[in-house]
Symmetry: C2
Subunit: 266 residues, 2 copies
């Protein structure tokens, strides 16, 4: 018996966010869709896991903005917890595809490290399942609700998902997709992660106990504004950026030099 | 005027942990030491950042297990928050070296992704500062306090830190150091990250509200038990494993194939 594909979706904005509902609608026709997502916002949660308290979940009756047949679960943990919990406790068979997003805000350049969206994608990849993270590049102050991903972009996402389920991805590689705000879909660009830097990261906060307190904020600088092959270059030109991401973080390019540098040490 | 080096230390077990105090003692002679660490345990916090509440800190009078001259600060945030906050709000000049650890437990293989210890190291590296994470490979049930890092290992760590401050590291590369439990220091091995997998990750937890609840646990499998050049191979042989880690997560090896796979798509 040929089973229809199982697609597991999570995010870091919580199951009630507009972006994840749009993503569930986009891929509803491709298979059985299970949404196992945080019960609220988990922005900036990276690949964090919950170590000090138990993680719980509950099944919800489908909300009006989800496709009718989606299986919907809210989880108390992080995006990575959602993937781990779904895989062992919730989905009836091994997923054919894991999706995360659509995040309200980009995860291009070094933001891949802070991103809860991408943390879940790394987890899926570590479990050997083709995994894709999707994020919308909003300017400061822009809200997803005012700039929803266009219908033809959602169609393009479904095509990408079909292709990845059909052909798979390389071992230990997952995809980081960032989408521009646009009325219509201009096309895909395969890119590398731009070099970038955050600065001016703290804004003073009031603290009734007299402790120095700060809100995390910051300004991002693209350190390669003239490069043509980066994710930010693609986004600036109005294209959807796809960066293949390696779960092996070893700097293979530096192994030899580091070995030489350590040569006279025990 | 030649300033003495400034060394910033953080961790994910909190400022009161034995491992970070041992690390501060190990490098106390190399420069001005600032410890800016979480006020409690932040295990598994990866490169997460605090987005929804302000982050605060306070200076502490030095504790008996820290070197007398260390500047000690406890922070309400994650390890990455500690580095960001220290850099902009606490240290009097740009650090020459950022250290994180010594973690009570290893961060070898894919655990580099979940590690709060390494999250702080990525952050230091993204800010262009030579950064090193250090972790002790304890077997399940072993406590750091019963298997503290040996004095000659601490001396070897100080030598490594001197070397790295003297010669620097490649752009966008930081170091992930994992130490074996041992009475004496056997030597360094430059390695790559082992391929690995976590399974059987959840243990049932009681929940008074009737929700399915689970503690995160799990068993780790080294998927390359016969490889000689991985971090786990070095640890098993009793050596300290050094993996150079790349902040650029792009799977450059897969760019061409992915471009071909996307060739007939818009």
């Amino acid at each position: 018996m040929l089973l229809i594909p199982l697609i597991l979706i999570t995010n870091d904005d919580g199951y009630a966010a507009a972006g994840i509902q749009a993503l569930a609608r986009a891929v509803a026709a491709l298979g059985d869709v299970y949404v196992v997502a945080p019960d609220g916002a988990r922005s900036g949660s990276s690949a964090s896991i919950t170590c000090t308290v138990p993680v719980s979940y509950k099944q919800l009756t489908s909300s009006p903005n989800y496709p009718v047949r989606v299986h919907l679960f809210a989880c108390s943990g992080t995006p990575v917890d959602c993937v781990k919990l779904a895989m062992e406790q919730i989905v009836p068979r091994r997923p054919d595809l894991i999706l995360s997003g659509i995040n309200h805000g980009d995860n291009a350049s070094i933001s891949v490290h802070y991103s809860g969206t991408m943390g879940a994608v790394f987890e899926g990849c570590m479990k050997g399942i083709p995994s894709i993270g999707l994020s919308l590049y909003l300017s400061r102050g822009q809200r997803y609700e005012d700039h929803p991903v266009s219908e033809d972009t959602l169609t393009a996402i479904a095509q990408l998902c079909s292709r990845v389920m059909e052909r798979g991805l390389a071992t230990d590689v997952c995809l980081n997709v960032n989408l521009p705000v646009a009325d219509s879909f201009r096309g895909w660009r395969v890119c590398r992660q731009a070099r970038g830097q955050w600065s001016a990261e703290w804004a003073s906060a009031a603290n009734p106990h007299g402790l120095p307190s700060f809100w995390l904020t910051g300004q991002f600088t693209d350190l390669e504004p003239d490069a043509a092959d980066t994710d930010f270059a693609a986004l600036r030109a109005g294209y959807a950026a796809i960066v293949p991401v390696d779960i092996d973080m070893t700097a293979h390019r530096y192994i030899k030099e580091l070995s030489m540098m350590m040569d006279d040490m025990p």
